[in-house]
Symmetry: C2
């Protein structure tokens, strides 16, 4: 259900083609929702059927045809209804944590590598988030400018403030993960490294201990 509103939200700022949406929901890390083109195209068809978006064929750079989707008034209303609805937090599914906990049966170096990868992952994210936040605060973030331009001048500060808040939240999350991983890396150095995996242990040496 959220893909629908992520698309409506994007299109509430400016019209776009399926291809552009697929790019923004794919590579771009400044966005808050991921989806592949194979999910986006059918969803756009459904939204158009429901009258929440309208398409218009337009010639692309060369002679190719592009479908440009724009949000309808019905779409805007639906989006407005959704954003104010009470948010249902999704169930927690954290495979990284499961791996960490059950690495208690692996050599200490495997734990170290796991935490180092976690650290790097969030350092990379942090760099991107900080860059975006800088652009939002400097007023050079393209989509922020477009959204402000499409709305009454009085809404400008709110648009900028909420976008900045959202990105600050991501920055704060990344920093938390980095600090946690660093602490964890320091802590595990004090641990013994028995490395007696339970399977080999039992089958090779029998039921000792």
């Amino acid at each position: 259900m959220s893909l629908k509103y992520a698309l409506l939200g994007f299109l509430s700022t400016e019209p776009a083609s399926g291809y552009t949406l697929a790019q923004e929901f794919g590579e771009s890390m400044g966005w808050f929702w991921s989806a592949s083109h194979s999910q986006i195209y059918p969803e756009l068809h459904r939204l158009e059927e429901q009258g929440l978006i309208l398409s218009q064929e337009a010639p692309g750079e060369g002679a190719k045809i592009k479908k440009i989707y724009r949000i309808s008034d019905a779409g805007r209303l639906d989006l407005q209804r959704w954003v104010v609805q009470e948010h249902e937090y999704p169930p927690i599914r954290d495979a990284e944590r499961i791996k960490l906990v059950f690495l208690d049966d692996a050599p200490l170096d495997a734990v170290r590598r796991h935490l180092q990868a976690h650290l790097k992952h969030h350092e990379d994210l942090l760099a991107i988030y900080r860059d975006h936040l800088g652009q939002i605060r400097a007023g050079t973030f393209p989509r922020l400018l477009k959204r402000q331009a499409s709305r009454p001048a009085a809404a400008g500060p709110t648009i900028a403030a909420l976008k900045a808040l959202a990105m600050q939240g991501n920055v704060a999350r990344a920093r938390t993960e980095i600090a946690w991983a660093q602490d964890a890396l320091a802590l595990i150095e004090g641990l013994p490294d028995p490395h007696v995996p339970s399977v080999e242990h039992r089958s090779v040496e029998g039921g000792e201990q």
Copy 2:
């Protein structure tokens, strides 16, 4: 794919019935993976077919039959292989952030309620996480004790340390969300509240601005 390993991980500590697993993966908040019984039962059948777990019928409290699943050596090996594999971080899908950003078109009070709900959600989580962490550190967390008992004594500190680290990470995350929401609540009080939703604005008053 991760449900499989969450189940194998759980069963690597102690045998359990599908019902017990469904409870642990459902209500219990101290765990890192959620799943419903309708997903768990078929998955257990598949794991048994693959020889990664073994079942054994046992009488329950009354006269009812319970299937108790235990992990096999093949299951342990598969789990050990998985935990050391490089972790693929899932794509970001954050509906809460999408709502926040597109609340720029709603009355300020809707933003306030959104942030207050966020705050409460993570305060509730924090309380649970802190409680679990306390039990882990005090050595009274039942599943930690069971896991330590099922493994060589030398592994005890590592088991406790990794479990504590995982829970500390959750505590840190909850604290970050709380601090962020509090900052955000303070910040939005400085914003104007125009409340001119774009749809009504345009359709009722025409293209002013």
